[in-house]
């Protein structure tokens, strides 16, 4: 139950301050939130300022992830602003001696229709600030007005001039620099270090071994890094516990097996798909600055979860949580990676040990070796078609790893304590750890089609490397499998891939996005020289369809040339910012589809530079990304940051098949994978066979 005074402050200068526990790392919240408040209050968005993620000022928040910031916290702010408007009108009615129905609100003034007498928001709150519980049912402006569009957010000018302060730019008086050992082998234990060698180096203040981390603290950053190297650590693989698997049945309809076996061989398909570990790979590696004193702690750093960080540091230092202050600065794009506040927690441990402020900046090698990665996924799919090409049965088995960070603890070597029992978060917004795993790994594991009967099972085992969330959780891997398979089914049914999908969709919003990309991409125009592929998803409630045009060189090199995307995210708060998110999601997903795979041998990460982990550059960017929003303003705003990333991998794979007949069932789709698939396409096994499947094979 949110209170208005926790969410909005009417300042004496006529501006409004909006408060949210979400943090900004490029999603455009600093642009979107003022517009939401402005829409309901009837003022210019420039008059609304936001305070984000400052744990001393904003209400508790679970964290910034899941494309929930506009959908959930935006809704809270919208409700707060609408309620504020009601209260302000009521106060004005009393002041002006008239009925609230005689009043209108314009540009921060409540005015009586007719005689034009008015009173400003500032006057109305001067004596008594607005307070009280925001009611569940508050009347919102309808239809939702949209503020005039603007290309960049309010932080744009500081970004293009370099003035914007990132957490890594913070320098505190007396600040030292720390560095912490990270093994390349996941979960490895430290056998020995050469403490004396590190201590003998210039500028070294301490070697810290606190049971969770081993690190050094020095006057300068280069001294800290030299001392870290001098520790000469010897690692040993920790005894491998037999991985505990969690099996979760997402759907189990009676008669699925019968439906599958009833179909004659040509109309019964099986295929297996694989997606590798993809690194979070933020351009700005994890960073943190901590000043831990006897009675309080002050933190800066890259985190998507300020209140979780506060609790973690409280538990490390023994301070009460309200004596730990996270003060946000700008942050490099996280996409889930900064759900783990690695460097800030390390900085807090080191500062706690040496009693002075400490800054910890992870390097590129630290990121690749010890940062979290998207889980691997193997999916086996099987489906049957009737004579008319309708799906009559569907079986799906997904094997993957957990997307969570701290639930149940983990051994990533970054010293994150488990959450305190009974904490707000341990109770969880989504129920038990198993339910949470099903929600994360199982996101979009259920196809958005009427498949009649289905058996869908998730098998979750711990990853060999450190795993965590990356832009859309399991949705992207799962949808790669499902939407690639839908394309294979459409071909088997002899149908157009879009028509095949439309025939088994009931959701009118999903139909609309598919129809929109069909029209805008010139899908039906023939002949085509290049390949076109389609895929779609309903991510939580946001509907997305994408058509991708690729060219495939003789070398097997794939170029994404053009992308058409239709999205229904409900009411669009900031059109330019929303487009930016869609384009960015498409660009990032194109990168992981064609290029990205964590280099590792079993549990050992084998790379440490951008050369070992290339991502897309400007030369890989498509010529055109065409974005259209098909939602309407009578719907609430839904998530937008993650959903458009989801259909890209299968749309690209399907376009490659359309271009050259190569069916690639494993990511990343590098030239050799295309050439291999091309060779296999000429020697396809008999359909319907029962040979064991390996990723990338079909029968």
């Amino acid at each position: 139950m949110s209170r208005i005074e926790e969410r909005l402050r009417f300042e004496p200068d006529g501006t409004v301050t909006a408060l949210s526990g979400k943090v900004e790392y490029g999603q455009g919240l600093r642009a979107a939130y003022p517009r939401i408040v402005a829409e309901e209050l009837g003022i210019a968005p420039e008059r609304v300022h936001v305070v984000l993620g400052d744990t001393d000022q904003v209400p508790w928040d679970m964290g910034t992830f899941g494309s929930l910031s506009v959908e959930m916290d935006g809704k809270e702010l919208r409700g707060a602003a609408a309620f504020a408007r009601e209260l302000l009108v009521a106060r004005a009615a009393q002041r002006l001696g008239c009925a609230p129905s005689e009043l209108e609100v314009e540009n921060g003034i409540v005015r009586r229709r007719g005689d034009g007498r008015g009173v400003s928001f500032t006057e109305l709150v001067a004596a008594t600030p607005l307070a009280g519980v925001i009611p569940e049912e508050v009347r919102l402006a309808s239809p939702t007005p949209t503020c005039p569009d603007s290309p960049a957010g309010p932080d744009g000018p500081d970004m293009v001039t370099g003035r914007v302060e990132f957490a890594g730019d913070v320098r505190l008086p007396g600040m030292l620099h720390g560095a912490v050992l990270h093994p390349a082998i996941h979960g490895a234990r430290l056998q020995s270090i050469n403490r004396a060698a590190a201590m003998a180096l210039p500028g070294v203040v301490a070697v810290v071994e606190d049971g969770s981390i081993t690190g050094v603290v020095a006057e300068r950053e280069d001294q800290a890094l030299a001392a870290l190297a001098a520790l000469n650590p010897v690692w040993a693989r920790a005894p491998v516990e037999s991985p505990a698997a969690t099996d979760i049945v997402l759907r189990s309809d009676p008669g699925t097996e019968a439906a599958l076996s009833a179909a004659p061989a040509p109309r019964r398909l099986r295929a297996a798909y694989f997606t590798p570990h993809v690194a979070g790979a933020p351009i700005g590696p994890s960073v943190g600055v901590a000043d831990v004193r006897a009675d309080r702690a002050l933190l800066y750093g890259s985190t998507q979860v300020p209140f979780r960080l506060r609790e973690q540091v409280a538990s490390i230092t023994g301070l009460p949580a309200d004596r730990v202050h996270f003060d946000p600065r700008a942050m490099s794009g996280g996409f889930g990676r900064h759900n783990a506040s690695d460097a800030t927690i390390e900085a807090a441990r080191l500062s706690h040990a040496v009693g002075r402020p400490v800054r910890v900046q992870w390097g590129r090698g630290d990121e690749l070796r010890a940062g979290p990665n998207r889980p691997e996924m193997t999916a086996e799919l099987e489906a049957a078609l009737d004579a008319g090409g309708r799906i009559t049965g569907w079986r799906e088995e997904i094997r993957t790893n957990p997307y969570t960070y701290d639930v149940g603890g983990d051994g990533a070597g970054a010293g994150r304590p488990p959450l305190a029992t009974g904490s707000r978060e341990a109770a969880g917004p989504w129920g038990s750890p198993t339910q949470m795993m099903a929600m994360m790994a199982g996101r979009n594991a259920i196809p958005p089609y009427d498949v009649r009967r289905a058996e869908i099972t998730l098998h979750i085992t711990p990853g060999r490397v450190r795993t965590g969330a990356l832009r859309s959780l399991g949705a992207s891997p799962n949808t790669f499998a499902i939407e690639s398979f839908m394309d294979e089914l459409a071909r088997a049914a002899g149908q157009d891939p879009i028509a095949f999908r439309l025939a088994q969709i009931t959701d009118p919003r999903l139909r609309r996005v598919l129809e929109a990309v069909r029209e805008r991409s010139g899908w039906t125009a023939t002949p085509r020289r290049k390949g076109l592929g389609v895929a779609c998803v309903v991510y939580r409630q946001t509907c997305v369809a994408e058509v991708v045009e690729v060219s495939v060189a003789r070398s097997g090199q794939v170029s994404v040339e053009r992308v058409w995307c239709a999205v229904d995210p409900g009411h669009v708060v900031h059109p330019s910012g929303a487009r930016n998110q869609v384009e960015g999601a498409i660009q990032m997903a194109a990168s992981w589809t064609l290029l990205e795979e964590l280099p590792h041998r079993g549990d050992e990460v084998t790379g440490s530079t951008w050369q070992d982990y290339p991502i897309a550059t400007c030369t890989d960017a498509p010529q055109v990304i065409d974005v259209v929003f098909t939602g309407d303003d009578t719907m609430p705003s839904l998530g937008l940051g993650e959903p458009p990333a989801v259909p890209m991998a299968p749309a690209i794979a399907n376009a490659i098949f359309d271009a050259c007949g190569a069916r690639v069932r494993a990511l990343p789709i590098r030239p050799d994978a295309v050439l291999r698939a091309l060779a296999e396409s000429s020697e396809l096994p008999e359909p319907g066979g029962k040979a064991p499947l390996r990723p990338g094979s079909s029968s």
Partner: protein, 150 residues
């Protein structure tokens, strides 16, 4: 050792151990944090500054090597409150998300347009290619440099 650097048209003398990188001097000694640390390996473009007009990752240059050359950082690009046309174009195209790659991208665009006032699409792409962006603003950055060109 004392090193004198010409940064944003001003001489700045710093006291740094020999071999200290230009990036460390900029960020830790001079408070010019617009050049961001991304990899320390010269492979991400986040710390690019202009050295005699050429885009160079500040992490790959020692302060001795930088001495005597003209260095321009993102902080030295605007004239008072007037943004450089490339900065203006990044704003107008909304070519920003988290902002971490922005300084380097803009400086790469500035260097390109100094050399080639009307670059082709391929020239723009290859000039910006050393600058990694995880948020995916590439198309907007390309548009911004194009719109700032003649």
């Amino acid at each position: 050792m004392a090193v004198t650097l010409k940064i944003n048209h001003q001489d700045r003398t710093v006291e740094s151990p020999a071999g200290t990188s230009l990036l460390t001097v900029l960020r830790d000694e001079l408070g010019l944090t617009g050049a961001r640390f991304g990899c320390g390996q010269g492979r991400c473009g986040a710390c690019v500054v202009l050295v005699d007009g050429q885009p160079v990752p500040a992490c790959t240059l020692t302060c001795e090597e930088a001495s005597g050359r003209s260095i321009v950082t993102i902080e030295g690009l605007a004239t008072g409150d007037t943004l450089h046309p490339v900065q203006r174009a990044f704003l107008d195209e909304g070519a920003v998300q988290c902002g971490y790659c922005t300084s380097g991208m803009i400086l790469a665009g500035v260097a390109l347009l100094e050399r080639v006032p009307s670059p082709s699409d391929a020239e723009i792409r290859s000039a910006l290619a050393p600058h990694l962006c995880r948020c995916g603003i590439y198309l907007r950055a390309i548009r911004a440099v194009r719109s700032a060109s003649r």
